[in-house]
């Protein structure tokens, strides 16, 4: 098959969106099978196309992408083209998106069973998949922005799926507006680059940026603005606040959108534009610092969360931060690798938590759970594997990707970056183990919940198992042998790269500390929470009450924003409304009308009704005119 057919990947789910949206409510089971079929088709199609892609890609000949576009509109010499651009980065994204999407679709059949607006859920899910696929294969920033907004809307719709709940509505609103603020930056960035290069085509922009055809100021401003968009989408500090709240959405949505795919759009964008950013002054450092700050800050917050999904959400934000660190270190390889492994692991964790939630009849507070491993063996086991994988233990998937990251960070920035990144990994180990222990082991906190807990059906556990396998194995693609065996030119670092491919080799000087850090995290977590016993952790919290308070309240980000919104934005709005009413309207508009009316009421007083006064007016008129006439004549 011709690789240019890759647009079909998006077209299939998009078409299915319309079918389900309009006809879903009349179909048996809301047409959920159509959803599965659509994502399944995309999944299959992708793997059918993959060999063709690989055939075309030829590093030697510097052919690394498939591109094709059509003219969309023309205004004078302002031509807009829409097209697809598939390179290894896209291929990775395809793999992640189609795989996770399929799993989530299948899982949702079980999870969403019996929910109102069941068909609507699947419809929007298809729209999301389509948009996400379009996003990653867009060859120009305009199409990218369009898809970018569409995934945002899908996210909004799905977060607010349970719109009867005030909190869900608020969360959806928050997510949309927060990312929208970032989007302002993205759009400005796009337009700044357009102004300098007269094109939206990403490759052309990169080419011109590397050729020094973009002035430094514009390059910097454009890059910063664009990166703001990435930060918003990928929930980087200070835009991270929306993601934890987004957990109000159905759990499969959290898995797909808020863990595996949409939130990594920012990472994808940065990876895509990295050659441009790299040319801009200080941009890489900024990216790195933002990534590290996010990773550390959110890891800290995760300690004090008791909601399973919130913990996972913060961990997601942290991992996204690490991806940015990788990008900031100039390593697209590490970022994309991390992205992929994280997607599988985190999707597994979310789906696992979804399984727990459904199995325990909608309980997601750790304080009510505990000891359910026995009741939910498959879920528990897969969750356990994923926990260890996320913690970065070898040979599970994320170990390898983090290893790449560490190497890149060390190469680019030296030890400080490495140390901070490892600190984040260390923290992950602790709170992930805390999460697992408090959820699955020890004595049940709430016997009533425990009593009713049971394992979920196969339609849900199936995807768990599949993803579990991926979580274990997907890291191995780093090896040359595994890569070639799969038909790739080699390991992932020989496939996805920015400047030169390199063959992965284990650097023990890095690997050993990495393993130790991960182990230490897991161990400390296990020590503190062993047996789901909270005494030690409570003591810890009491020892440093102010620090605990700080992380418990998420560093008061929400409160600060609320303050700014209430006092700043809304205050300004009230001020403007007041100004509009009382100054512009009542004074300016009504005022001038009143002045006119008042002038009339004064003037009419001359009309006294008395004849001598009237005669006087005539006389005065004549005298005035005559005097004026004489005066004018000189």
């Amino acid at each position: 098959m011709n690789p240019e057919y890759s647009w079909l990947l998006a077209a299939i789910p998009a078409a299915m969106f319309f079918v389900i949206a309009f006809a879903g409510r009349y179909l048996p089971r809301g047409g959920d099978y159509l959803g599965v079929a659509a994502t399944g088709a995309s999944f299959v199609l992708f793997f059918a196309l993959l060999p063709d892609f690989l055939d075309v890609f030829d590093a030697e000949a510097h052919v690394l992408a498939v591109a094709g576009s059509i003219e969309w509109s023309t205004i004078g010499d302002f031509e807009l083209r829409m097209g697809v651009f598939v390179d290894p980065v896209t291929v990775v994204m395809f793999a992640v998106v189609t795989t996770v999407a399929l799993m989530v679709n299948i899982f949702s059949i079980g999870y969403m069973k019996g929910e109102p607006r069941y068909y609507w859920f699947f419809a929007v899910l298809q729209l999301f998949v389509a948009s996400m696929l379009m996003l990653v294969m867009a060859d120009n920033l305009l199409l990218l922005y369009i898809s970018w907004e569409l995934v945002g809307v899908c996210s909004f719709l799905l977060i607010g799926f349970y719109w009867e709940k005030r909190s869900a509505t608020e969360a959806a609103k928050k997510a949309f507006i927060t990312t929208r603020v970032g989007d302002v930056g993205l759009l400005i960035g796009i337009l700044v680059f357009w102004k300098e290069t007269n094109t939206f085509n990403i490759q052309e922009i990169i080419h011109m940026a590397e050729g020094g055809q973009i002035s430094e100021t514009y390059l910097f401003v454009g890059s910063i603005c664009m990166f703001l968009g990435a930060m918003g989408k990928s929930a980087q500090v200070p835009f991270h606040v929306w993601l934890p709240d987004a957990m109000e959405g159905p759990t499969p949505v959290s898995a797909l959108i808020h863990a595996a795919t949409m939130v990594v759009a920012g990472v994808y964008l940065t990876a895509r534009m990295l050659p441009v950013f790299a040319v801009a002054d200080h941009m890489l450092l900024i990216i790195t610092i933002v990534g590290l700050t996010t990773a550390l800050l959110t890891s800290a917050i995760a300690f004090a969360q008791t909601d399973i999904k919130k913990v996972l959400a913060y961990s997601t934000v942290g991992k996204l931060g690490l991806m940015f660190v990788a990008l900031g270190s100039g390593s697209v390889t590490a970022a994309m690798f991390l992205l992929m492994t994280h997607a599988f692991v985190k999707a597994l964790l979310f789906l696992g938590s979804g399984s727990v939630i459904l199995g325990t009849h909608h309980n997601q507070e750790m304080d009510k759970l505990g000891g359910i491993w026995k009741k939910m063996p498959i879920t528990g086991t897969t969750f356990f594997v994923a926990t260890l994988a996320l913690a970065g233990l070898p040979p599970l998937a994320m170990f390898w990707s983090e290893d790449e990251l560490f190497a890149a960070a060390k190469d680019e920035w030296g030890l400080w970056a490495l140390a901070l990144a490892m600190l984040a990994v260390f923290a992950t180990g602790i709170f992930m183990v805390r999460l697992f222990i408090r959820t699955f082991t020890g004595q049940p906190r709430d016997p009533h919940v425990y009593e009713h807990t049971r394992e979920t059906p196969a339609v849900m556990t199936g995807p768990l198992v599949f993803l579990c396998v991926l979580s274990v194995l997907s890291g191995l693609v780093v090896f040359h042998g595994v890569g070639t065996a799969l038909g790739f030119p080699g390991g992932i670092s020989e496939f996805v790269f920015q400047h030169e491919p390199h063959r992965y080799e284990i650097d023990w000087a890095l690997a050993i500390p990495s393993v130790l850090v991960a182990l230490a995290g897991v161990a400390i977590g296990a020590f503190v929470y062993w047996g789901n016993d909270l005494r030690r952790s409570t003591a810890l919290a009491n020892a440093q009450p102010r620090a605990y308070d700080l992380i418990r309240n998420k560093f008061y980000f929400d409160e600060a924003y609320q303050y700014v919104i209430d006092r700043g934005v809304l205050g300004f709005s009230y001020l403007t409304s007041w100004f509009d009413r009382y100054v512009v309207n009542d004074t300016g508009v009504n005022g001038s009308a009143e002045v006119t009316g008042y002038a009339g009421s004064v003037l009419k007083l001359f009309q006294t009704g008395r004849l001598p006064n009237y005669a006087m007016a005539i006389a005065v008129g004549v005298i005035g005119l005559a005097l004026a006439g004489l005066w004018l004549r000189g």
């Binding site: 007016a617 005539i618 006439g629 004549r633």
Partner: protein, 501 residues
Amino acid sequence: MERDYTLFIPEFIAAGGAVLVLAAELIYPKVRKDYLAYFTAAVALAWGISALFYIGNTVGNFQGVIQTDNFTTFFRLLGSGIVFVVALLSAQYMNRRTKTAGEYYGLLLLAGIGMVYMAAARELITAYIALELLSFSLYVLVGYLTKDNLSTEASLKYILLGAFSSAMFLYGMSLVYGITGTTYYDGIGAALADRSGDTDTAAVVGFMLILAGVGFKVSAAPFHMWAPDAYEGAPLPITAFLSTASKAAGFALILRLFTGPLAANADDWKWAIAALAAITMTAGNLIAIQQKNLKRLVAYSSIGQVGYMLVVIAAIGYGDRDTAQNASTGLLLHMVGYVCSTLALFTALTAYYNRTGKDTIAGLRGMAETQPFLATIVTVSLFSFAGLPFFAGFTTKLFMFQGSVTDGLLWLVALAVANSFVSLYYYLMVLRQVYLFDPEPGMSRFSVGPVLWVTGAALTLGVIFIGVYPGPVFEGAERATDPLFGVGVDAVDHAAMDHSH
């Protein structure tokens, strides 16, 4: 032709009709009053039809004092038309309010004649006498409701102020006569042109006094103060007559005077007209905002309209000959539109008043429910006054102002447009009563008599016709102004020149 009495045939008809009407009641006192009205209307019709025969490029001149040219014909048609409509309006209205109506209709016709000769006069004495003929008739007609205090009061104010201002007018004419030695327009024009450049205080002051006289007639501020009171006190149809015929006649006189004899001395008066125009439109429109009585509202609104029309006269002073004719053409067009709209409005108001006895703005409350047809007429005419499109006012104002625009006068036109905008407010205040409120309890739907219905419908259609397709009237107006500017006039009888040596 020294004494061509055929030139007067239309007015002979009218005057004869007037005498018949006057006599009819003397001979047969029990004659139905509305028959008199219809007879008057028929006379007016005959008058107008006979006037049609004078359309053309030939100019008839009676000893240099009266000229029957297209301009005169225009005002004959206008005058007879106004008399026709006013007579129809009066039929029912006067029937209830007076026992002797013969004089009323007779004077109406005579007033019309006065109007025509104001337009036809080419000599000051004639103009003065014609003006007094119109004025005298109106003094009586305004005060015709002798038992009505307001009517008498209005009449008293009108006649005393009228006499006062005509004294001013006469003094001005005497000064002009003093420096020119003649009363013929052509002679005055020639004499003034000879003297132009001198510092003639007499000319300047004379012009101003004349301005006061004609300004009073057309009710230009500050000579306008009689108007609201006279309008309010007068019988409703006479209010209509006052606001149409009286003004039209005044402007006819002004046009003859200011485009002809006084044109050479434009520098001496143009600023005054511009100032009067500005004051008049502003005062009229601003005071109108505060009115409660419909007749007074119309009075002030018509004062505002006079302000717009004076812009044209100012343009005659400021612009060149072409501008002068364009502006005058616009003025005549606007006059037709304004007359149609005003008469339509008064048709509706008369019909409404006959039924309800209400002439305040608030009295129109719920008119859209009780009489939608009348409400439509009111709406159309008020929108036409406000210069909204589809109706005459828009087109005629646009043409009039466009014709008047010269570089030096744009400010005045702008002021006029601004005033026209202000005027919309009080017209809307009337429509607010008509449409936005339910009728007072006890008011039910009623029907309008066929005469007023047809009159109103015809006038409304006229307003719309002029508003949408102004071509014919505009062309007619231009033909009417031709004689003023000596365009296309083949057979000007220069007899007048002989008198002016």
